[in-house]
């Protein structure tokens, strides 16, 4: 059994200081998958021990543009232990799979090893050997020669051009340019973000095994059903023939949602060799084997009156994409909703460069978008001489300025108030360079963030077993957000059993289906599905107890019964009081099972397949009468060494509105994680491109700097959310992506307050300050 299978009772409880029982929905139950993770017992996908397992290692292109002339594999093939060298000429042919929207693909073969090179680090060959060491050594012997052609290395390359307009990104109302021209106060600035990388601690990889025409893939996955569909389409086999198993995921941050070319290589090798194949990317390969966050450029112009009230926003954005793929990072997403403005224009282009196609990284779109608008409004605040917090309240959007719809809930004003109070914002001296401690300049900055409530549908099975325990199954996943835990809490509270008695099984595509774990949607989707399934199971249980002639409650003629703490009784307190196990035994049942889903009634099997294997059926956040978003306000203190320009974040207070929290202990952890990744983005993270060959120079964890423990101060997070039943069945809004949004501008704003220097180009490194 490869799935996670731990009983809640093995873990310690959180405290119940807020009055909520730890194991109820909203309680601070400790992670139920925690014991497995702290003892090393949790088996991650590529840790399966299989008989006959062999190892594959990728060979990558060393040029960014051109053609492979010759691959000389002779030395590699002759090396000890080598079973096969796969090249574009020897690998089996696959079919092209549909993209994640489910768009029908072109009817042409797909080869996961490239002859035509469009970026440095593209997979061109793979070596399979009996041992990992033999495969690594032999891969180094593969000689690839190229016909190199000039490349466009990044957005600042002179050959890059203006790119392709993406009309779907255009958002306009009023007459933004006229209003800007006539505004008494005008600011205009350009904001840049570099390539950034998800860098999950677990590298991407997989174990692939064929049994006849059935493929099993153990692979860290944010989307089992979507990836299973891709594998099935590549190999031209039925969807049901592919099983994806992903019990634990060592971090994803957007990067593990899609089946990628290295997965195709491993599955091909396994098919060709008729042996299970393990392929894990090296850390450098994780910088080119899939895309990080695209580099972006934005200009933000704001026209305002002298009181700082915005009259017009004109926004133009550009992001990079690859030569043959299309990634749009929606740069106007926050710009268009954060502040009330009568006139607005946002447009975006996409520029092709010789890079791997960029991908989703924590809050794609919202994150760089917020860096632009939340920096710009800070600039406006200084221009008109108004406190940066006050100017945000003065331009507060009482409804969605773009969709012209009411917010479902927007506790942003409450977030500003709670954060400012806790941070001590009122004690801020407004002038830049006016606060210091010795040779450290101190700056206080504020910025807001937001993330839309993305909704989709999910299924779950809830079983009440003969021993009175409850089992939950879903093909959704837990990559650290706490899915195991919150689904245990949901089932426990809904059925009426102690959380100790719930086992949650996730991460196997054989279980009832779930869509992508991305866009902060899973908790809302899956608590809804489990709630429905558990309610249905409870109804069956109570129905049996009332109506089955063998039930001890049969003579009672009750209309309903109460199930609590694993026992069934009459709400009036008369009659018997028996355990669930006793009842099931008395009526001769070994289990009760109910499937629940949140799909619209009358959904067809085709609808369901499409929903779970593509993102085509995601519900827009502005569907119906409301605009649904999470919100947050960040207050940050930095200390800048006046001589050396080094920036340290010394204090963070963030107040966040994610609606109802299913488990505050785990939500706080995710929020802090987002804040910390935002500190990395602001101060450290930048993919550096070699201008000759388009290589990522710092493609490792020593040179691509992510925050370390020593970079991070204490962080205080405050929940200001209220249940939002327009957002999800149980009232939660997104948690995982929200908190990173607004961190980088809050830090840039604090750095300006400390130093008087406005840094509009991330990361904020010392050479930009001295």
């Amino acid at each position: 059994m490869t799935v996670h299978n731990i009983r809640v009772g093995q873990s310690k409880r959180g405290d119940a200081s807020d009055g909520t029982l730890a194991e109820a929905i909203g309680g601070r139950l400790s992670r139920v998958d925690g014991p497995a993770k702290i003892t090393g017992a949790a088996k991650y996908a590529v840790e399966q021990q299989l008989e006959g397992l062999v190892h594959a290692v990728l060979v990558e292109s060393t040029i960014a543009s051109g053609k492979v002339r010759v691959i000389d594999a002779a030395a590699a093939e002759a090396a000890p232990g080598v079973l096969q060298v796969l090249t574009p000429d020897t690998i089996i042919s696959l079919k092209t799979a549909a993209d994640w929207f489910g768009t029908p693909p072109p009817d042409k073969p797909y080869c996961p090893l490239a002859r035509d090179i469009t970026f440095s680090g593209q997979h061109v060959a793979a070596v399979v050997a009996e041992t990992f060491e033999q495969a690594v050594a032999a891969a180094a012997l593969v000689k690839v020669s190229y016909d190199e052609t000039p490349s466009i290395v990044d957005l600042s390359d002179g050959k890059a051009g203006d790119g392709i307009p993406i009309d779907a990104m255009t958002k306009e109302w009023g007459d933004a340019s006229t209003a800007f021209a006539s505004a008494p106060v005008r600011i205009c600035a350009a904001y840049n973000t570099p390539r950034e990388y998800q860098a999950p601690m677990e590298p991407h990889g997989l174990v692939a095994r064929w049994e006849g025409d059935h493929l099993t893939v153990w692979e860290p996955s944010q989307w089992l059903d979507g990836m299973a569909r891709t594998y099935a389409e590549w190999f031209g086999i039925p969807f049901g023939n592919v099983r994806l198993v992903s019990p634990y995921i060592g971090g994803g941050f957007g990067s593990k949602a899609l089946a990628l070319s290295h997965g195709a290589v491993a599955a091909c090798a396994a098919r060709m060799l008729r042996r299970p194949v393990k392929l894990v990317m090296t850390r450098p390969q994780t910088f080119t084997g899939y895309g990080g966050r695209a580099a972006t450029r934005q200009t933000v112009t704001i026209g305002a009156d002298r009181d700082g009230v915005i009259q017009s926003i004109v926004h133009r954005g550009v992001n990079e994409t690859s030569m043959d793929g299309m990634w749009v990072e929606p740069l106007g997403s926050v710009t268009s909703i954060m502040y009330a403005t009568p006139n607005f224009s946002s447009k975006q282009n996409v520029v092709r460069v010789n890079s791997v196609v960029p991908g989703a990284m924590r809050a794609p779109g919202e994150n760089p978008s917020a860096f632009g608008i939340e920096s710009a409004i800070d600039e406006l605040a200084y221009e008109v001489g108004i406190d940066p917090l006050e100017i945000r309240l003065r331009n507060y959007a009482e409804q969605d300025p773009h969709a012209k719809k009411a917010w479902s809930t927007r506790q942003l004003r409450e977030a500003f108030a709670a954060g400012a109070e806790r941070f001590g914002w009122a004690r801020r001296s407004p002038e830049p360079r006016s606060m210091r401690d010795g040779n450290q300049l101190i700056g206080w900055g504020v910025a807001a963030g937001t993330y839309p409530v993305r909704r989709a549908y999910g299924e779950a099975v809830v079983r009440i077993l003969a021993d009175g325990s409850v089992e939950v199954e879903s093909s959704s996943i837990d990559m650290g957000q706490g899915t195991y835990t919150i689904l245990a809490q949901t089932a426990a509270e809904t059925v009426g059993v102690p959380a100790d008695n719930v086992v949650v099984k996730l991460g196997d595509s054989r279980f009832p289906r779930a869509g992508v774990t991305g866009g902060s949607r899973l908790a809302g989707v899956m608590t809804g599905a489990v709630y429905k399934a558990a309610t249905s199971a409870l109804d069956q249980l109570v129905g049996l107890a009332i109506s089955d002639p063998r039930s001890p409650f049969h003579a009672l003629q009750a209309n309903t019964l109460v199930v609590a703490n694993g026992r069934i009784a009459s709400p009036r307190g008369d009659g018997p009081d028996v355990s669930i196990a006793e009842l099931l035994n008395s009526v001769g049942r070994d289990h009760i099972e109910a499937k629940g889903d949140t799909m619209p009634a009358n959904s067809t099997a085709e609808d369901r397949y499409k929903n779970y294997t593509t993102i085509a059926m995601s519900v827009p956040h502005t569907e119906g009468d409301y605009s649904r978003h999470s919100w947050c306000a960040h207050f940050i203190e930095v200390r800048v060494d006046e001589d050396f320009g080094t920036v340290r974040v010394s204090r963070v207070v963030s107040a966040l509105d994610s609606g109802r929290l299913y488990n505050p202990k785990l939500a706080e952890s995710q929020w802090k994680g987002g804040i910390i990744m935002g500190i990395g983005q602001a101060l450290l993270e930048e993919g550096i491109v070699d201008r000759r060959h388009g290589r990522i120079v710092n493609d490792n964890l020593a040179d691509y700097l992510v925050p370390t423990n020593a970079d991070i101060p204490d962080i205080e997070v405050i929940s200001v959310g209220i249940p939002d039943l327009h957002a999800s069945v149980l009232g939660g809004k997104g948690v995982g992506e929200l908190a990173i949004v607004g961190i980088a501008p809050a830090i840039a704003n604090a750095v300006f307050h400390a130093t008087g220097k406005r840094i509009r180009d991330l990361p904020i490194t010392l050479e930009k300050l001295i």
Binding site: G34, G40, M201, G251, V280, R283, Q481, N709
Partner: protein, 159 residues
């Protein structure tokens, strides 16, 4: 074929293992690929992330930068060997209580580092903990909770 492997005797978590390995096999790959001890994680294979931290003769060591043969005759402790007779080590218990991890992939290394950090006497203040735990990266960003867990466990040891 010429003989390319050597016998390596490893003492891991109090158990003796006899392996026949190529000399180039790292301790990390010996643990994960040969012995099924997958609690020790591979994050970078270059000594940059700390996920593979184990103890050799009580000191924290990066298993990816250590050849298996170098560990011969020395006492190796991995995350699987930390709990004694089913009782969690106080650092493990503190990590669970403080929610000092999310995805769990860096956690084994963090815990092994934390045990050594306390033993070294480097858990005297939050600042010191941050500094001496800085070699173990956590991309989920559990750092403040890791500091809290190390602080809590250190206080339990001191009490």
């Amino acid at each position: 074929m010429t003989k390319t492997t050597i016998p390596v005797h490893l003492d891991i978590n109090g158990h003796h293992h006899e392996l026949q390995l190529e000399p180039r096999v790292t301790l990390l790959d010996a643990l994960r690929e040969r012995l099924g001890l997958t609690g020790t994680k591979k994050g970078c294979d270059h000594g940059q992330c700390g996920a593979c931290t184990v103890h050799i003769d009580g000191e924290r060591v990066l298993a990816c930068l250590t050849l298996a043969a170098q560990a011969e005759g020395r006492a190796i402790t991995t995350i699987e060997g930390l709990a004694r007779e089913g009782e969690l080590h106080p650092v493990q218990a503190a990590f669970l209580e403080q929610d000092a991890f999310q995805c769990g992939y860096c956690t084994s290394g963090q815990i092994m580092s934390a045990v050594a950090c306390i033993r070294e006497g480097h858990a005297g203040s939050d600042e010191e903990i941050r500094e001496y735990m800085a070699g173990n990266l956590c991309r989920c960003g559990a750092y403040p909770h890791i500091v809290a867990a190390v602080r809590q466990a250190a206080q339990e040891f001191a009490a």
